[in-house]
């Protein structure tokens, strides 16, 4: 790794740690938020947003040139609450009000939140809606804008994803990038025990997508992958399969196949954040 790259990754590491903490704090304020599903996304979102791969103008929500980011696995989106506040979509103190009456930050994000494009969390919709946006952008001759759809692996059991995947492959939608947060767990078990998804990259390839497989917690690897995907012309839709760990950084979650619905106690949170009074 050259020096400038290592400095950049150092900054990203600091940012990722901050987001990890913010995510846990959000969960502490609103225990109904899904923490484990959000923690598997921390490095993916860090590398995506803080390397400048997502074009946006927080002060101009409907700016035509913005990249459309759809977080189809809405349960895992609370990390994005902190990112959007950090980028200036809304004041940072909104994060204090998560889950409270009058806040726009709920357990699952909706487009009442500045920066969110679609209704999320009802699983299996994002990829198809994103493909529709991609067709619209193409029709408007907007070739510089990407539609980035983040899906979970459990969500891929929804058949509508594969209707969209066929569609994108057939129409060579090179403005669509699908990032799979492959954390290997759904609600009741590991996904390979429910309905196995492997070989997942080969499945997307068979549907006409160019695929990448990357360690979803390695900021350098993610940055390299995004650099190749976002900085060079694409021939068709791209799927990035990011291998992740659900509940990353929280040992009791990482080891728990039922961690999706696990809520951390205030004591556990204080211990994780090093804020215990010994």
């Amino acid at each position: 790794m050259n020096k400038s790259k290592s400095v950049m990754c150092g900054k990203l590491t600091v940012k990722a740690r901050w987001l990890w903490e913010q995510t846990i704090r959000l969960h502490g304020r609103a225990p109904e938020t899904r923490l484990a599903s959000s923690l598997s996304l921390v490095e993916i979102l860090t590398a995506l947003y803080y390397n400048g791969y997502v074009k946006s103008k927080p002060a101009e929500l409907n700016w035509e040139g913005r990249d459309r980011v759809i977080i189809s696995k809405g349960h895992g989106a609370i990390t994005l609450y902190a990112i959007l506040a950090d980028l200036g979509y809304y004041p940072m103190n909104e994060l204090e009000r998560v889950g409270q009456q009058g806040s726009f930050l709920g357990g699952i994000p909706d487009p009442i939140i500045p920066g969110f494009e679609t209704v999320n969390g009802s699983l299996g919709h994002g990829l198809g809606v994103g493909c529709g946006m991609a067709c619209g952008l193409r029709q408007k001759d907007n070739t510089s804008t990407s539609v980035v759809v983040i899906v979970g692996d459990g969500e891929l059991h929804e058949g509508a994803n594969w209707e969209a995947a066929m569609f994108a492959g057939h129409h060579r939608l090179n403005n669509v990038v699908c990032i799979v947060d492959f954390n290997k767990k759904a609600m009741l078990d590991n996904t390979d025990k429910i309905i196995g998804l492997e070989p997942l990259d080969a499945k997307f390839s068979a549907f006409g997508w160019d695929t990448f497989r990357v360690d979803g917690h390695n900021l350098a690897a993610l940055t390299d992958c995004f650099e190749r995907v976002f900085k060079y012309p694409r021939k068709g839709p791209v799927a990035i399969i990011a291998d992740t760990i659900k509940g990353r950084g929280v040992p009791v979650m990482e080891s728990d196949p039922l961690c999706h619905v696990r809520t951390l106690s205030k004591k556990e949170i204080a211990e994780l954040l090093g804020e215990t009074r010994d």
């Binding site: 209704v119 809606v129 946006m133 067709c135 066929m166």
Partner: protein, 316 residues
């Protein structure tokens, strides 16, 4: 009636859509591999704004949503039971929920209202679609009675903001309205005949049965009102109640399940306090084979049987 030929609603509706697409560049037409001769004109003349998603209604709605979010007006086209039920949650979430916060213009066009796909059986018949679509906030429901007004309906929905469902009959039907008649879609109903003995309130194909019934009863010296209700979620209830107040007992006629939130429910709410007789189908799935009028007769929805039932309630 008239010697003008029977026409299919979808042909006239799609002709209206084609004219709108010729005049504006922001309209997309998306189909779930369902066609018609006029649709061939749309896809030949506007290949860049025509998409066939294949037999995939969930994706039909999702793709249409994405196009609408990019500022396009969208027509999504499929067989009525499938576009209303196969993808209902996509419609609810991506059209109705989203339309609360984002400007969207998407019209779902379903062909095969009621039992128009007679011999195809229960999978292809749409007997629940009115109830289901009526239950959705941010969803307009239009049910035209003939091809003539369907042309105007296409123009209306193409200019309308929000989500809408248009249920079109699958059969060629004789005209009820004048050629290219323009209806008040916001008012939602039209009085076809005025009378005081009883009022038949109907939608879609049953408006034809209502007219037939009124003809039979006229010969028996009854004066029957016929009200065609074509906007099933945005009926002007005050105007409707006013038009029907001196028109005798009210009988609703629908080619769908009664007591399930369809036309009968709409009218009951519009004229609260008055008793109505709801004629339609019992909520059950049947596998009777026959043409549409054979099937309707099995359900007591042929004009003669309807006329007998009306006589039981009619006054003077």
């Amino acid at each position: 009636m008239t010697d003008r030929p029977a026409k299919r609603m979808r042909d006239m509706f799609l002709q209206g859509v084609l004219e709108e697409m010729n005049a504006a560049t922001d309209i997309f037409f998306v189909t779930a591999d369902f066609g018609s001769p006029v649709l061939d004109n749309i896809r030949e003349q506007h290949p860049d704004r025509f998409l066939n998603v294949g037999i995939a209604e969930q994706n039909l709605i999702n793709i249409s949503t994405g196009l609408a979010l990019e500022g396009f007006r969208v027509f999504a086209y499929a067989i009525a039971p499938f576009i209303t039920m196969r993808c209902l949650e996509q419609t609810r979430t991506n059209l109705c929920v989203l339309a609360s916060v984002k400007p969207l213009s998407v019209c779902l066009v379903g062909v095969g209202a009621g039992m128009s796909y007679d011999v195809s059986g229960p999978t292809h018949q749409a007997l629940e679609d009115i109830s289901i679509m009526r239950s959705l906030p941010n969803m307009a429901v239009f049910s035209p009675a003939d091809a003539e007004c369907s042309h105007d309906l296409a123009k209306h929905v193409s200019r309308r903001k929000g989500a809408s469902y248009v249920r079109l009959d699958g059969k060629a039907l004789p005209p009820i309205y004048q050629a290219n008649e323009r209806l008040d879609w916001n008012k939602g109903f039209n009085v076809l005949r005025k009378g005081t003995s009883a009022s038949l309130v109907s939608t879609g194909y049953m408006t034809h049965k209502a007219m037939e019934t009124a003809d039979i009863l006229t010969k028996k010296n009854k004066r029957i009102s016929v009200v065609d209700v074509y906007s099933l979620n945005h009926l002007n209830a005050v105007a409707f109640a006013d038009c029907i107040k001196d028109a005798g007992p009210v009988i609703t006629l629908e080619e769908g399940f009664t007591g399930r939130g369809g036309l009968d429910c709409l009218i009951m709410n519009a004229i609260k306090g008055r008793t109505i007789t709801a004629l339609g189908l019992l909520p059950e799935y049947r596998f009777d084979i026959g043409n549409r009028d054979d099937l309707l007769k099995l359900h007591g929805l042929d004009a003669n049987t309807i006329a007998e039932k009306v006589l039981q309630t009619a006054v003077h």
